[in-house]
């Protein structure tokens, strides 16, 4: 029998606020343990949480960018569970009235992955298990999170990876999170089940917790899919359970026993009043949502003449997209700017985070000046490329590297002399051309280009050479 994968995601994203969700401690990452704490975020009795306005705004923006409906009335609830990462023994979250509902993220194949909801909640502290004890750092405790819950619409590892990447791009574009999976500011729980192809019924699902890399998400899903299919094929039954993925052995294993069945006894947090958002406020936030990556990608193809792949590679990163748009403003063919970015500039940005941060020495305006020079015919492509390399090395403008004589182009006499020289220096190529080998002409022109260090006009040189040998 053939089986298909059915998967849904719960994605936690840390919001880029300055302070925590219910207190004024900083959310900065990487400090000494327990130095970003106060009585509220370590859960001392008698403290009163107060909701961070910015966290609510960011969550609404996340909803708007993923086509959600925004609730005018929303509230906070307590999710009760007893574990040392949670000093109050409950997490303040949202249960039946989340801020955002009924959205979707569209994949490149046109398929919509529906979002059930997006709600806000507080992050838990960090536990380090060593020497048989648990060390607790509450710096992360109380950092604002959104949890994005999808419907089980994902059918393959490829769709899963694209879904996570799309979420990451969108949230970075709207500036509500850096979504750094390796630092834990974006983490996914994957719900996965299998069923015979053609069946409409959902199988029993397992949940793989806390995945913090797109590669591992793919591997864990493949492993878990295989495990469930094998289990069913051999007459067994999938048990609903929470799993941990081990990236060393590439296997999943059970995290908790069944006797700890989830019973969170949600109830409204009486310390926190209703959240009320007016349509006007929602519209104000809507106006802040920039053009999103897939919208840019479409425009780059339809209006700027880029191919799909280049458009995608540029639109994916907000800073690169902005650089491209500035560099190609008023340029005849924006593709020239795209080529320099994907050629010369991408070579210097090896990792995804290099591209995300986009620290390069050249400004978009400087690149545009260089392209204008190229378009005016005053310099050739090779010279433009080597000049751009020097600009990227130094951060200086093209005028530092291109001399007046380079810019003057080449007068006709000099070109004629060079062409004569080329014909004399390449008797074999001349003979070949006369014997009908068209290609031989190119090598004579190449000689001229080399001698002139790229300054000669290739078309003019070719015409001149033909005149001489034709």
């Amino acid at each position: 029998m053939k089986y298909e994968m059915v998967a849904g995601f719960e994605t936690h994203i840390e919001l880029a606020t300055n302070t925590k969700i219910f207190c004024s401690c900083t959310t900065e990452f990487g400090a000494d343990s327990n130095t970003h704490c106060c009585p509220i975020c370590i859960g001392l009795p008698g403290t009163l949480p107060k909701l961070n306005r910015q966290a609510v705004k960011y969550a609404i923006m996340a909803g708007l960018a993923t086509n959600c409906e925004i609730a005018n009335i929303s509230k906070m609830d307590r999710k009760n569970y007893c574990y040392p990462d949670l000093p109050k023994a409950y997490q303040i979250s949202q249960y039946d009235k989340p801020l955002c509902e009924h959205g979707y993220v569209q994949l490149s194949n046109g398929k919509k992955i529906r979002l059930t909801r997006i709600h806000i909640e507080e992050d838990a502290g960090k536990l380090i298990h060593k020497r048989g004890d648990t060390y607790i750092d509450y710096n992360r405790g109380g950092v604002p999170l959104i949890e994005i819950v999808s419907e089980p619409d994902i059918r393959s590892v490829e769709e899963a990876k694209e879904y996570v990447e799309k979420l990451q791009q969108i949230m970075r574009y709207i500036g509500i999170s850096d979504c750094k999976m390796q630092e834990g500011s974006m983490r996914c729980d994957v719900n996965i089940s299998v069923r015979p192809v053609g069946s409409e019924q959902l199988g029993t699902r397992t949940e793989i917790k806390n995945m913090n890399s797109i590669t591992f998400i793919g591997k864990a899903m493949e492993y878990e899919f295989g495990r469930q299919v094998d289990l069913i094929e051999s007459g067994g039954k999938v048990e609903q359970q929470t799993l941990r993925y081990d990236d060393v052995t590439n296997t999943t294993s059970s995290m908790r026993g069944k006797e700890d069945a989830n019973d969170y006894r949600y109830f409204r947090d009486p310390d926190l009043v209703t959240i009320s958002v007016t349509d006007e406020e929602i519209d104000e936030l809507r106006a802040k949502i920039p053009e999103l990556p897939f919208q840019k990608q479409e425009r780059y193809v339809s209006e700027m003449g880029l191919n799909e792949k280049d458009a995608q590679n540029i639109a994916k990163y907000r800073k690169i997209a902005e650089f491209f748009e500035t560099a190609s403003k008023g340029i005849k063919n924006p593709k020239t700017a795209a080529n320099f970015i994907i050629g010369q500039i991408f070579r210097r940005l090896e990792t995804e985070s290099d591209k995300e941060e986009f620290n390069i020495a050249v400004t978009a305006e400087q690149l545009r000046e260089l392209i204008e020079l190229l378009d005016s015919g005053k310099i050739r492509n090779n010279l433009a490329k080597s000049t751009l390399e020097k600009m990227l090395d130094t951060g200086k403008s093209f005028s530092e590297f291109i001399s007046e004589s380079d810019l003057a182009g080449m007068d006709e006499n000099t070109l004629n002399e060079l062409c004569k020289k080329a014909v004399e220096a390449n008797p074999k190529a001349v003979a070949d051309y006369r014997n009908g080998k068209q290609k031989a002409l190119k090598s004579i022109v190449g000689f001229v280009m080399k001698e002139s260090r790229g300054r000669a006009d290739a078309a003019a040189a070719e015409a001149k050479i033909l005149e001489l040998i034709g």
């Binding site: 327990n34 106060c38 107060k50 009335i73 007893c82 298990h129 004890d133 607790i136 750092d137 509450y138």
Partner: protein
């Protein structure tokens, strides 16, 4: 009606131990509490929205950092500390 099983389940989730002697008393107490809370349902008029009974909303805080407490202060009440961390015995 709250049962012994309900009370034991809630106790387990809350990591509390309830002895057999306490069980009857606790079950009755829990039942009384729930019944008391239930009186609000009897008082409810049609159309009353209990979600926001006090009509308060949007008690927000601005996103401005206030210095956190010294770590010594934060760790002062802990039973056990080590290397700037709260320390708890590892749970099985």
């Amino acid at each position: 009606m709250v049962t012994h099983e309900d009370v034991l389940a809630i106790a387990r989730l809350s990591k509390l131990y309830i002895s057999d002697e306490e069980l009857d008393e606790m079950t009755k107490a829990m039942d009384d509490i729930i019944k008391f809370a239930d009186t609000i349902n009897n008082a409810a008029e049609e159309g009353v929205e209990f979600d926001n009974i006090n009509n308060l909303s949007n008690a927000f805080r601005e996103d401005e950092i206030v210095p956190s407490y010294d770590r010594e202060e934060i760790l002062k009440n802990a039973n056990d500390i080590d290397e700037g961390h709260f320390l708890v015995r590892k749970r099985v």
